[in-house]
């Protein structure tokens, strides 16, 4: 096959490849066609590449079945060429290695993601083929899983140059097989270790993104699920092998995650990881406490990441008996004016509400939080204020001792607010001596709903708590629409007759030049 033909007609070439494949499979005479196909696999035409890749896969899965391919160590065997049959099989072994090279190459770096996927599928087919007819060496235990090949696939999949998310998406379908899942984690763990060694500083973002994509797409089996679906059938189907043990799966999962989290993650990825950590990762870990280091570190970073780490930390404290010193002090420190403006405000306040649910929290602590919240409310946007006020009222209900903040009988006037906003320790901030003057100020807030909510705090509280959840996600647009629709049948109008858009007694007068420039310059429209 000459290069000219390849260029001339890709379709006919593809057909030709098909014919050749058939011939190879029919008799050994045409075995030389394999080299041709290997050559065409390097072609630049996608159609030709695709055809040759699938042809190679077909040929070798059949040949592997026939046990004609030599799969031992190839080095040092070149000289011995006595037996033609052996020689043929060695030659086939050589070709098989070339094929794998080509396929892995295509998988790691090809512009067309279709080809990548095709290479991946071909490789996975070869994995089955190898698994069916294992060499004596492969796989230490009963499972005939070709670990070596699989490791190669994972290595290539976790490319540090290209975004592999499309291919990984295709790979996701295979996670239903328990062995694939397990060995993915195992290989990933190995791969991560290797890469971390390789890049002394920290691995590139693309690589980490790829790893995260792969990790986040795994569906871990639950406690009671039966683990029996295997991609590569073992020799003895009833034997206990690693993929069938949940413990093994979990251990591999934990190792993979931990080695992933050891790396320095880019911020966006960091946030993503923290978001999914408590739902997708912690329940499946063999021992979630191993995450403590990671979570404490994240919690100490501050800002949005702290808010998010709170979630995972909460799960650990709540479900896994983590004793975290200074937790509330750190939580207290998280309350800053910017807390209302980040994306995860609702989640944060939900968690705060949960943390402060306990009535066993000391009153001074609750008072500190209440006072802090009310101080923050002075600079909070409208949409968050109702939530804050409801949270305050709920806290006051839970901790009746704190009601001195809104009602202190017989107190005398003070020169200033005893509360120290700059004190980081909630125990020392003297919140209990203070009062919620901020809430009192909010009673004259510009929005009627907020004002009403604040007025409610000025009266003896009703015994039942208000449901916070409906205010957590309150958007300004929702409030806007609600205000628009709450229309009475008559609308009051302004009774001062205007003399123009800006009157002489307007507040605009001193600040803006509202006078029309000059009467003489009449512009004709």
């Amino acid at each position: 096959m000459s290069a000219d033909d390849v260029k001339s007609e890709p379709r006919s070439v593809a057909a030709d490849i098909k014919r050749k494949t058939k011939e190879v499979l029919q008799s050994r005479e045409h075995a030389n066609n394999i080299t041709d196909i290997l050559e065409t696999a390097q072609s630049e035409e996608d159609v030709v590449t695709a055809a040759s890749l699938s042809a190679l896969q077909k040929i070798f899965s059949t040949l592997l079945g026939r046990k004609e391919v030599y799969r031992g160590r190839l080095k040092g065997l070149e000289e011995e060429t006595a037996d033609p049959k052996k020689q043929y099989s060695r030659w086939l072994g050589q070709c098989y290695m070339d094929t794998l090279d080509i396929l892995l190459n295509r998988l790691s770096s090809h512009e067309n993601s279709d080809i990548k996927e095709l290479a991946l599928l071909a490789l996975l087919k070869l994995v089955t083929a190898e698994g069916k007819h294992p060499t004596s060496k492969s796989g230490g235990d009963q499972s005939n899983f070709p670990l070596r090949l699989f490791q190669l696939i994972i290595d290539k999949l976790m490319s540090s140059e290209a975004d592999q998310s499309a291919v990984i998406g295709r790979f996701q379908d295979y996670f239903q097989y328990d062995d694939i899942r397990l060995f993915t984690f195992v290989s990933l763990h190995k791969n991560l270790r290797m890469v971390t060694k390789e890049f002394t500083q920290h691995p590139p973002d693309t690589y980490l993104h790829n790893v995260h994509t792969l990790l986040s797409q795994v569906n871990m089996p639950g406690e009671g699920d039966e683990l029996s679906s295997l991609y590569v059938a073992p020799t003895d189907p009833d034997a206990e092998c690693r993929p069938k043990q949940l413990k093994e799966q979990r251990r591999a999962f934990t190792n993979a995650w931990l080695s992933f989290l050891k790396n320095k993650l880019p911020t966006s990825l960091y946030k993503q990881v923290l978001l999914t950590l408590d739902q997708a990762v912690i329940p499946h870990m063999s021992s979630p406490k191993l995450l403590i280091d990671f979570l404490t570190q994240s919690y100490n970073i501050g800002g949005a990441i702290s808010l998010l780490a709170l979630n995972g930390l909460f799960t650990l404290i709540y479900k896994h008996n983590l004793d975290y010193p200074d937790f509330f002090r750190k939580l207290y420190a998280l309350f800053e004016p910017s807390v209302f403006h980040v994306k995860y405000t609702a989640r944060f306040f939900h968690l705060t509400d949960v943390f402060l649910t306990s009535t066993h929290i000391p009153a001074y602590l609750a008072a500190a939080f209440i006072k802090r919240l009310s101080r923050l409310s002075l600079s909070a946007p409208v949409s968050a204020l109702q939530m804050v006020l409801v949270l305050i009222s709920n806290l006051l209900r839970r901790h009746p001792n704190c009601q001195v903040l809104v009602h202190r009988s017989g107190g005398e006037g003070l020169g200033s607010d005893p509360y120290d906003a700059n004190e980081p320790d909630p125990a020392k901030c003297k919140a209990m001596d203070s009062s919620l003057w901020e809430v009192k100020s909010l009673q004259s807030h510009v929005h009627p709903d907020v004002s009403q909510a604040a007025v409610l705090l000025g009266k003896p509280l009703a015994p039942l708590e208000t449901d916070l959840s409906q205010y957590l996600e309150l958007q300004t647009s929702e409030m806007f629409d609600k205000d628009l629709t709450s229309q009475s049948d008559q609308v009051p109008l302004e009774f001062h007759v205007p003399k123009g858009l800006f009157g002489p007694n307007d507040q605009f007068y001193n600040i803006w030049a509202t006078e029309p420039p000059t009467k003489k310059q009449k512009t004709v429209n």
């Binding site: 600079s379 946007p381 409030m479 806007f480 609308v491 009774f495 429209n525």
Partner: protein
């Protein structure tokens, strides 16, 4: 069959009337409910009097006809349909039915019998007479044979002999004959009417005759009289001429006949007018205050209503507050009044009470009330101000040209009377002069004048070619309006709008109100369009604002709806960007000016307002979501802050967003050294370490201290401002404006308990970081003023611990009867028409429901009775049969015994 009834119920209903008339009103049937108090002349209510027996029997009869029938038919699949003639016709009497049936029978019989008769047509005769007649043997006197005497009776003779000529029936007889039959009521009435008519006619006739006679007599008397006069009276007396009336007499007469001026209302003095205006404004202001607190008129009314506690009231926690009553007391001969209440001035010299209702507008209020009228008239006369002469001539032209316009023109004039009256007068004058030209051409002076006039008019007419027409069609869309406005100056555009409004005044035609509402939305659109132009045509916008305000006054609801829709669209556009990116750019000038317009049209101080509250939310959103990246952004932000200042200037409500924003702007003015963060909190949209962190920092260190502060031009709000905002001038102005606004807000919020906490970040910023040495004096003054305010206040404010609002002590309940002024027992329900309608329907529904339930209950009772009856009948039957059988058996037994006895005997 005449009628066919769909159901038995129909049938019965139809018969109802008849049945009612059948029942004679038997006084023993009537039952009257006992009245507690007998009131003379009071009519009994519908349910107080009735005939229970009659109605019960009627109901039973009805049930028998309907329910019983159904009950009896209940298990049957097929039913008998009564097809007998007239059976279902209630109108027919039994006799009629029989007759009809007989006729039918005969007919069918005849048809059947005649089916095979061959010689139907032939008629047998004998001596030319039909045999069929002869066969009947009918002789007129056949019955006379029965007479024993054998003689003809006298009556017969009278009638039959001599052709009956002897006894021609007299009219009297016939009348009698008629009267034999009982006259129907209808006939009687007709008779009476006929009689009365006849009598009337006769009377008239008589009267005419006497009239004729009298006239005749008069004539004769006149003739006769002349002859009499001739004898008695002297000639000179007859011819005496009345003395000629002199001027004085004429004057007196004239004065006597002159139309007297009708008594009219006294013209109000200026003071009174001012006072009325004052009172009106005070009332409106009081309303506004209430709305600011979030109370509506209804709430207040409710509060007042709630005050009363009836004797039946339970002690269930509703407060009862006695209305404050003024205690009448005198001191030194003067009426004592509690604080805050004044006597209404009784004499006109007293200065009208002028309440100071807000500090800012205090001075302006007086002029405003006076100006208001002026403003109106100015507004109305705006087309006159255009130049009277040209207008008049133009109007003439109009009148001449087309008549169709004239009508609408006239009607328009009716409304805006004053203004056009003048014109009309002058027009009339013109016309009369025109007439005069034709008539008195010989008078030279006049002629010359007229010549002059015509010349003048010609010149004006030429000018009028370019003039505006007086009537306009109401524009359907902005495009229509733009067609009208094309190539017109702004002044003229305003005139056009004014005329459109006048032509379509709501009182002129039916659909005008909607047209004006449409005009409102179009003008609003136009407003937005104008606002987006650069430079902004402020004069036109001002004019439009006035129009929009007045249109909104005419129909508040739809205007509010329109503004709401526009706001909503703008907001959602803004919000969608926010949702997508998390931040947004400052909206265009039209949105900003629209927000300003909202404050002009609607009261911004209301606790909750369907337009203003959303508008404020929008503004707050702008201040929190839009990052500041350029001078224009700063200008926009400052504009919105100023808007907020205006919105809350009366209600003094707290807006955290504005304070955050002002603080952020001041932070922008702080000079930041690289690598060293300023330890001041900033709230988003402002950030530490942002690229635009030095936007307001002066570029040149010195040399600007002597600069004069100018107010910011509106122009810098537009996206492509003419003036550069990247200058130190702008920065200084903006900083000054920020400080000014901060001071205004600080003054406003001084009384808030958390005043210090609110402003402490700004204080820190100003006292530590923003020392403003290189700024002009005004700016520095602003800073020191603020710091002074914060410092001075610090010592004064005492932080009193909060306490719950004290509950008002519960007063003792006084169970006194409720007296209502002007109580009208017939008008019980108060409330809107909707409420009344609902109440009425509910009542109706309840009544019907009760009726239906009662009917159903009675039906079941009836059925139960029926079943019981059947059961009893069955039982009786069974008893009878048993008895019979027993009887039979016993007799049998007896016989048997007898036979046995006999047998024994025989044996």
């Amino acid at each position: 069959m005449k009628h066919k009834y769909t159901s038995k119920a129909d049938f019965v209903r139809k018969n109802k009337k008849k049945a009612q008339t059948d029942v004679k009103s038997n006084p023993f049937e009537v039952r009257i409910n006992k009245q507690k108090h007998t009131v003379l002349g009071k009519k009994l209510r519908r349910f107080d009097k009735g005939m229970p027996g009659v109605s019960r029997s009627k109901a039973i009869k009805k049930r028998k006809a309907t329910l019983l029938q159904e009950y009896q038919q209940r298990g049957k699949r097929n039913q008998f349909v009564d097809r007998r003639l007239g059976e279902n016709d209630p109108e027919m009497t039994l006799e009629d039915k029989m007759l009809q049936r007989f006729a039918m029978e005969r007919k069918t019989h005849h048809e059947k019998a005649g089916a095979f008769s061959l010689n139907e047509e032939e008629e047998l005769t004998h001596f030319g007479q039909s045999l069929s007649q002869i066969e009947k043997f009918e002789e007129p006197d056949s019955d006379s044979e029965d007479d024993a005497t054998g003689k003809l009776s006298g009556e017969y003779v009278k009638e039959a002999h001599f052709g009956g000529f002897l006894t021609k029936k007299t009219s009297k007889d016939s009348l009698e004959e008629k009267s034999d039959k009982p006259k129907s009521r209808q006939e009687m009435i007709e008779e009476i009417i006929a009689q009365s008519k006849q009598r009337k006619h006769e009377r008239q006739h008589q009267k005419e005759q006497t009239e004729d006679l009298r006239e005749k007599l008069d004539q004769q008397w006149a003739e006769f009289q002349t002859s009499l006069h001739f004898n008695k009276k002297s000639q000179p007396k007859e011819e005496r001429v009345r003395p000629k009336a002199d001027d004085y007499d004429i004057m007196v007469r004239e004065l006597g006949f002159e139309i007297k001026a009708k008594a009219s209302d006294r013209l109000k003095t200026e003071e009174e007018l001012a006072r009325e205006e004052q009172e009106r404004l005070q009332k409106l202001e009081a309303d506004r205050q209430l709305r600011m607190k979030g109370l509506t008129q209804e709430d207040i009314r409710e509060q007042q209503q709630n005050r009363h506690v009836s004797a039946d009231d339970l002690d269930d926690g509703f407060d009862f507050i006695r209305p404050e009553r003024l205690q009448l007391a005198y001191k030194d001969g003067k009426l004592l009044l509690p604080e805050g209440k004044e006597l209404i001035p009784s004499t006109s010299d007293d200065k009208p009470i002028r309440r100071k209702y807000h500090s800012e507008a205090d001075g302006s209020e007086a002029d405003q009330s006076e100006d208001e009228d002026e403003g109106h008239s100015e507004e109305d006369n705006s087309d006159q101000s255009e130049g009277e002469g040209s207008d008049q001539s133009e109007e003439e032209d109009d009148d001449d040209d087309d008549g169709s316009d004239l009508e609408s023109e006239k009607s328009a004039e009716d409304v805006s009377g004053e203004e056009e009256e003048q014109e009309e007068e002058e027009e009339d004058k013109d016309e009369s002069e025109e007439d005069g030209e034709e008539e008195r051409e010989d008078k030279k002076g006049e002629e010359a004048k007229a010549m002059e006039k015509t010349k003048e008019r010609k010149a004006i007419a030429e000018a009028a070619q370019t003039e505006l027409p007086y009537t306009f069609k109401a524009p359907e869309s902005l495009k229509d309006l733009m067609e009208l406005m094309e190539d017109q100056s702004y002044d003229r555009q305003l005139i056009i709008i004014n005329r459109i409004r006048k032509c379509h005044h709501p009182s002129l035609a039916e659909g005008n109100r909607t047209k004006l509402q449409n005009l409102f939305s179009i003008l609003l659109e136009y407003f937005g369009k104008l606002a987006n132009q650069s430079p902004v045509a402020m004069e036109m916008i001002d004019g439009l604002t006035i129009h929009l305000y007045e249109l909104a006054q005419q129909s508040p609801g739809p205007a509010a709806d329109t503004v709401q829709t526009v706001l909503k669209n703008k907001y959602h556009k803004f919000d969608s960007v926010c949702q997508r990116k998390g931040r947004a750019v400052y909206p265009a000038v039209d949105t900003l000016l629209l927000l300003k317009l909202v404050s002009v049209m609607f009261p911004t101080s209301d606790f909750r307002h369907s337009v203003v509250t959303p508008a404020m939310l929008f503004m707050a959103q702008i201040l929190t979501k839009c990052p500041v990246t350029s001078g224009r952004d700063i200008a926009c932000g400052l504009f919105v802050c100023t808007l907020f200042l205006q919105y809350v200037s009366l209600s003094k409500r707290f807006v955290p967003e504005v304070i955050n924003y002002l603080q952020g702007l001041l932070y922008l003015a702080v000079k930041k050294e690289s690598g060293k963060a300023v330890d001041v909190e900033v709230v988003p949209p402002f950030k530490h370490n942002s690229a635009q962190g030095n936007l307001l920092v002066l570029q040149e260190e010195d040399g600007s201290t002597s600069m004069s502060i100018k107010p910011l031009p509106l122009d810098c709000l537009s996206k492509s401002p003419i003036q550069d905002t990247d200058t130190d001038d702008f920065r200084i102005c903006a900083t000054h404006a920020t400080l000014h606004l901060t001071n205004m807000f600080a003054n406003m919020y001084q009384n808030l308990p958390a005043f210090h906490e609110i402003f402490s970040p700004i204080r820190d910023l100003l006292s530590k970081h923003l020392l403003l040495p290189a700024y002009p004096r005004e700016v520095q003054d602003g800073r020191s003023q603020f710091l002074q305010l914060m410092k001075g206040d610090h010592s004064q404010t005492t932080y009193c611990p909060l306490q719950y609002e004290k509950l008002k002590p519960k007063p003792l309940k006084l169970y006194e009867p409720k007296f209502e002024e002007g109580y009208n027992p017939e008008r019980k329900i108060k409330g809107s028409r909707k409420q009344k309608e609902k109440e009425r329907l509910l009542k109706m529904h309840k009544r019907e429901m009760k009726g239906a339930v009662r009917e159903i209950r009675k039906d079941t009772q009836f059925l139960a009775r029926q079943q019981l009856q059947e059961q009893m009948e069955k039982d009786a039957e069974r008893k009878r049969k048993v008895k019979e059988i027993m009887h039979h058996l016993s007799s049998q037994e007896g016989e048997c015994k007898q036979i046995a006895k006999k047998k024994i005997k025989i044996m």
